[in-house]
């Protein structure tokens, strides 16, 4: 076993990340979630508090299931998941990844005013239409055409081989199936 592999195996002996139990453990995670929410566009402190609380609840739930892993990573994942779930609910989607992605791009692109309030559950106004109105149509509907490689018959390509094949065929040694010089794909 090379030293590179044994070095990597050393990681297995490292102590596991701190358990999710104390307030001190939670503080950096909360801090990171706040930062992330801010980057998502959640500026209002009331909205932030609501959403942070929900994310932390989900992280704690994962901890009780023993699925905590890296707390910071789980917190970011859960924030993301919270957003996706809200979008699915808001738009009545059926977990279509393309539609969820488009909706996420719409809100994070700043095209839907007031979405953070709605996400935090502090607004009753539906944003379904506003989100659907933002279309990210990067390409039009498919309108395919067939485009096959066209043969180009090169002159003198494998001339010797072709001549030999012809002679052999003439002598009755080989069949008539020998390849032509046509260049296909």
């Amino acid at each position: 076993m090379g030293s590179g592999v044994s070095d990597r195996l050393d990681v297995l002996d490292e102590p596991a990340p701190a358990a999710w139990s104390t307030t001190e453990d939670r503080a950096p995670v909360e801090q990171r979630v706040r930062l992330y929410l801010n980057a998502l566009g959640v500026q209002d402190s009331q909205e932030t508090e609501v959403l942070v609380r929900r994310v932390i609840e989900r992280v704690e739930f994962r901890a009780t299931l023993g699925q905590l892993g890296e707390p910071l990573e789980v917190a970011i994942e859960e924030t993301h998941r919270l957003l996706d779930r809200w979008l699915v609910a808001e738009l009545g989607l059926e977990s279509d990844p393309d539609q969820i992605s488009a909706a996420r791009a719409a809100v994070l692109g700043g095209h839907v005013p007031g979405w953070t309030r709605r996400w935090a559950g502090l607004s009753e106004d539906s944003l379904t239409e506003s989100i659907r109105a933002v279309r990210f149509q990067a390409v039009p509907e498919h309108a395919p055409l067939t485009m096959e490689p066209n043969p180009i018959r090169l002159c003198c390509h494998r001339l010797v081989r072709r001549l030999a094949a012809r002679v052999l065929r003439w002598l009755g040694i080989r069949g008539r199936h020998h390849a032509s010089a046509e260049v296909q794909a």
């Binding site: 801010n38 990844p97 700043g110 309108a143 485009m147 090169l154």
Partner: protein, 691 residues
């Protein structure tokens, strides 16, 4: 009488042109052969004659194209009979029943320039009032993650600004199979059925709205027309080198283009961009096969445009050049070294066409296009061989002592002098090379308005003089560059597909020494040998040697933008695009000066693409532009491994392909975004996504 005229117009040009070319070549050849054949023909002399014949064919073909172009333009100008003019009513081009796509294949190009160019064309198109039926399509083959993300942001910005007025579509290919031709072919396979025409643009192409509309109108007017190539005029560069080429391209280029259109008729060529193509026949006939064998002569067809034009012509479609259509522009390499680099890429593609010259089924003129493409690069090593052979021949001649007395003759027999013949050969060659420049000036003298657009006849003449002197200095340098490229390709060294450096930048001393140091050394070595052993030849050879000896300073000097701009202020090398800047170019300038909102990304030492991926807005848009695909455990593991490697060892530990893998799959992207945000120490986070 009219019928006779029609027949003459249709059938006369090509026989006339080829007869002139052949007669000129035979005349020059007879002069040279009479000059060198004293006492039989040696092997070396035979080689000299063969080389000279090939080169003279090449030069006289070029000369007669320009000369015919001169006559065409002079006649049109005087008679006021322009061909179909771009200013004709364009109402018939109003579409609705069909759509035209403006497709711009890009590969790691500057996104600012790409989208600014498209915006300028959009503005120009809207100004015509005929923008309905046009759609823009950016066909990205970009591999660099940073540029890919920027392209998406520019696309988003533009679609936000424009709404549904003129759709702008964007797609980045997962695999850049078969490069540019594959990119276009994939476009046809996916969306070709949506469009009747596509106007193919290059990343540095600019076309005016009037020209775009007129191209569609002409295609609609002739249902057998598959392609119209509108010759692009070089513009927008500031360096001395580029301004000189822009001037030459604008002044002499129109002669050549008019001449080409005269004899090529309906079997013209495709130059790869600034052309409109009927999509269905293109899809039916222009799918390119891979050539048998390995690169550089086998594999993908690199210079696809010539082959596509030949395939269309083979299928009975018309391919035309439109010399009368203006409003078509392109940008050129800013320095001599960049120009040579571009040649390196083009050289392989053109030499590959040697295999197609005799392929079955192509029209004779298409074969000629292939041959001319090959010659545009093969001419350099042939000139080099010709010079070497001439030097060796001169050396052998110098060894011969003249004998004045033969046999019992009392009177001396003086050796025959061939100075007159040799001088005539030289002068004829020079005339063929330089007369087109004078003809271009004559055209200016015939048209005062046009002369004014070139800065006036006097300044244009001075510019031609300077350009001619500099082209004498640059020609041997390009000859050595191209000879090296041809040799490398013949030795089966393939080229990559490097993106072009298009913006103005200047050549430094080290760069110039690296590129031209060998040229200078060769010049000194050859000059010394020639001076010592064949002094007579040395003096004939000095123009070539001077170009090589001065290559380093000339390369540096001509790359200077300050010099180019100073000459512009002095009224030298002015072009119509500079004196009467077309609105579409002005729009481009304005668009480029508009502040482009940067992608908000945290400041840090990481590469731009990883920092940009921390921005939830950038991440979400990129994610939305990817296609969903079924998840596999194997892929997930690979992507996790890459994300970990990125975290632990940094971006430099990943290859370009691995970086693209992370960005090309939604699960990889999600991993990347999450891991970056979950890093124990966070770089300064980006501002809010929608802030």
């Amino acid at each position: 009488m009219k019928r006779l005229s029609t027949i003459a117009t249709r059938h006369l040009p090509r026989p006339l042109y080829f007869t002139l070319v052949l007669l000129t070549t035979v005349f020059c050849l007879s002069l040279l052969s009479s000059a060198i054949q004293d006492g039989g023909l040696s092997t070396l002399e035979l080689v000299l004659l063969i080389l000279y014949t090939i080169l003279m064919l090449w030069i006289s073909a070029s000369f007669w194209t320009a000369a015919i172009g001169f006559l065409v333009l002079a006649f049109q100008d005087r008679g006021g009979e322009g061909a179909e003019s771009a200013s004709e009513p364009t109402a018939s081009a109003e579409t609705g029943a069909f759509k035209t796509a403006l497709v711009m294949p890009v590969y790691n190009e500057d996104p600012e320039r790409v989208f600014a160019g498209l915006r300028a064309m959009f503005d120009s198109l809207v100004a015509t009032g005929h923008s309905d039926g046009f759609e823009f399509f950016v066909l990205s083959d970009t591999r660099e993650p940073d540029i890919w993300l920027q392209e998406e942001q520019h696309w988003r910005r533009w679609t936000e600004e424009l709404g549904d007025r003129v759709p702008l579509f964007y797609r980045n290919r997962v695999e850049n199979t078969a490069r540019k031709s594959g990119n276009l072919a994939d476009f046809c396979r996916d969306w070709g059925g949506r469009y009747r025409y596509m106007i193919v643009l290059d990343a540095d192409s600019i076309m005016s709205g009037e020209t775009l509309v007129e191209m569609v109108r002409r295609m609609e007017a002739d249902r057998r027309l598959a392609l119209i190539q509108v010759p692009p005029v070089p513009v927008n560069r500031s360096s001395f080198f580029a301004r000189m080429l822009q001037f030459a391209g604008s002044l002499y280029g129109r002669l050549f283009v008019a001449g080409l259109a005269f004899w090529q008729r309906d079997t013209a060529n495709f130059w790869g961009h600034n052309a409109i193509i009927r999509v269905r026949p293109f899809a039916d006939h222009c799918g390119l096969p891979k050539l048998p064998g390995r690169e550089p002569f086998g594999g993908d067809i690199l210079s696809h445009d010539f082959v596509e034009a030949a395939l269309l012509a083979r299928a009975g479609w018309k391919v035309r050049l439109a010399p009368d259509l203006g409003g078509s522009y392109e940008e050129i390499p800013p320095t001599l070294i960049d120009y040579a680099k571009r040649d390196r890429r083009w050289c392989q593609g053109n030499l590959q066409h040697a295999r197609l010259i005799l392929a079955q089924g192509f029209k004779p003129l298409s074969r000629l296009h292939f041959a001319m493409g090959v010659m545009s690069y093969a001419a350099s090593p042939l000139w080099l061989l010709f010079l070497i052979a001439t030097g060796v021949e001169a050396y052998f001649k110098s060894l011969q002592q003249p004998e004045y007395f033969f046999g019992y003759n009392v009177m001396p027999i003086w050796p025959e002098s061939y100075v007159v013949e040799m001088t005539t050969v030289l002068w004829v060659t020079l005339v063929l090379l330089f007369l087109p420049k004078i003809l271009a000036l004559v055209l200016l003298a015939l048209d005062r308005d046009e002369a004014r657009r070139f800065g006036g006849l006097l300044k244009a003449s001075l510019s031609v003089l300077i350009e001619s002197l500099l082209s004498v200095l640059l020609a041997p340098v390009l000859m050595l560059f191209q000879s090296k490229f041809v040799a490398a390709i013949l030795l089966r060294t393939s080229v990559g597909w490097p993106a072009q450096q298009r913006g103005d930048h200047q050549t430094g001393v080290l760069e110039a020494l690296g590129a031209h140091g060998v040229h200078t050394l060769i010049a000194f070595a050859v000059g010394y040998v020639a001076y010592v052993h064949v002094p007579d030849f040395f003096w004939w050879f000095t123009p070539v040697l001077a170009g090589l000896v001065l290559s380093v300073p000339v390369s540096i000097l001509t790359s200077r933008t300050s010099l180019g701009l100073r000459l512009k202020e002095a009224g030298l090398f002015l072009t119509p695009a500079e004196t009467e800047e077309p609105p579409v170019l002005r729009r481009l300038e304005e668009r480029l000066t508009e502040p482009s909102p940067p992608i908000e990304a945290p400041v840090g030492e990481r590469a731009f693409w990883t920092r940009a991926m921390m921005n939830p807005g950038v991440y979400a848009l990129h994610d939305a532009l990817l296609h969903d695909e079924p998840q596999t455990r194997r892929r997930r593991h690979i992507l996790e491994g890459l994300a970990l490697q990125l975290q632990d060892e940094g971006e430099d530990s990943l290859s370009l392909r691995e970086k693209r893998a992370l960005l090309s799959h939604r699960d990889g992207l999600h991993l990347l975004h999450t891991r970056l945000w979950a890093a124990p120490t966070l770089e300064a986070p980006p501002p809010p996504a929608n802030g």
